[in-house]
């Protein structure tokens, strides 16, 4: 139950990041919705393929499709002003990353995957959706350009896995893991926004 809620919120947030990126790239309403769906569901589908769960749950239960489609439509109609879109993509991406890493790691552990593997699959699940979004829009993925991206994802996976191994209650652990990922990313972004970036890789 906790997992499903975490995952649906993460899907909505990643859908919004995909939709905002699509609006920024000048796509029309259908393109925006398709990119919202791809970004939102890419990580989870990848996770299920790696775990051997077929068909992936994102294709079996309708809320997984309805939530990102509606999110994409809402963003298309009411997106913030263009000047603020870049920040919006990065912030939404940070929150989505936290939620997906946590949900992905927890799902893998719940299926009996060993901790080491669960941690990696959680990371992949968090990074996957955003990477697909960036590749489809012909950008070099954030995970390659932002120093702290993969490290933040890893930290979240380690917290969830450690909590599981130590037998701590999953709810608070999930909350802490998500908050940690978001905090690390937002801190990195905030520092960047105020500092000149060497070698021009701040796109």
């Amino acid at each position: 139950m906790l997992l499903v809620v975490l995952e649906l919120v993460g899907i909505a947030v990643f859908a919004a990041s995909g939709a905002v990126a699509a609006v920024r790239a000048g796509l029309d309403v259908f393109g925006v919705i398709v990119l919202a769906l791809t970004t939102a569901l890419g990580g989870g589908v990848l996770r299920d393929l790696l775990l051997g769960v077929t068909p992936p749950s994102a294709l079996v239960h309708w809320p997984y499709l309805l939530v990102p489609a509606v999110t994409g439509l809402v963003v298309f109609r009411h997106h913030p002003r263009v000047a603020r879109l870049r920040r919006a993509v990065l912030l939404l991406d940070a929150v989505g990353l936290g939620l997906f890493v946590t949900a992905g790691t927890s799902t893998a552990l719940a299926l009996g995957t060993p901790p080491y593997t669960a941690c990696l699959i959680g990371m992949t699940s968090g990074i996957g959706g955003g990477a697909v979004r960036d590749v489809l829009l012909r950008e070099i993925p954030l995970v390659l350009r932002r120093e702290i991206y993969a490290v933040a994802a890893l930290a979240g996976g380690v917290v969830v896995t450690s909590g599981h191994v130590l037998g701590l209650p999953p709810g608070p652990v999930a909350l802490i893991a998500t908050a940690l990922v978001v905090a690390v990313r937002v801190l990195a972004l905030w520092r960047k926004w105020n500092a000149p970036v060497a070698r021009g890789f701040d796109a």
Copy 2:
């Protein structure tokens, strides 16, 4: 049987679309054949992975490889004039989309996948090959740029699934679904070719 024929024709048509796009991008004969194979088989491999069919049927039976390889070679030798290549890619893509959505949805249903999931996997199977082709050639995929692309695919999947649920004969249903997808796409393209496109996204 019907499924195999549908799929092989779809493979040939998608292979031609990939080969023409590769010729247009200036690739040599080997690049053209590899892109023909990737475009033709990408959607089916993705479908089999989503359905848990391993190894994917495209890698098990040799006609799945021979048909697109020969198609790629033929296109390389006898491609239409450069000025008409862009239309050729779009037209072939439309027919391939129709055939793949129909074949993909039918395959999923034949394996006992629930209708909702079968419909989505059919769509993915139709959209996947063309998306891989465009990403490899560094273009933003058609499905993100053409309004009616995903909707056409969805319509085809819904027709096949509805026919299955209602117990209608699969042959005529497959024909109608394929024709519907092609008709919607061609209509959209024809309208585009004669009308100015807002905001310059008609690549």
Copy 3:
């Protein structure tokens, strides 16, 4: 045992090719490590998904992660001068291709996959990592631009498969197959470096 060694050496070599490409693209240390990991593990993960081995072995055993991460770090600290980076990527890619095609085909055969399919999965496994590397850096993949790329991979797969069918000892066969792929690729590169290339596709 032979398989594991082959695969780990291939992983290190592909990781180096990814890391050098990332350095060339101006990525920072984290981006270099992530791209080293993706390039090194992409082909093996794809192979395992096609074979239905989940979770993929690259995510289960820690050397598969440690080797490319360390390789990426070492390349980042001690990479050759910029002028020689392009050749370094191509040479490392050739060796990695040979090792991966051989290891991938052998793994597939060891799992009881029919020869034809094993050969194709070995090719895919060899080509996959480099293709992911190039797509993430927004380049058209080598396999589409270099005439002999797919043919070299195919030749390696055919040698391994033939050896298996004929019951020859796997060690020498693996060595010959790897050497064949590397020789074909290096020969093609060497010829290119000294000859003008038609139509400007020598990126």
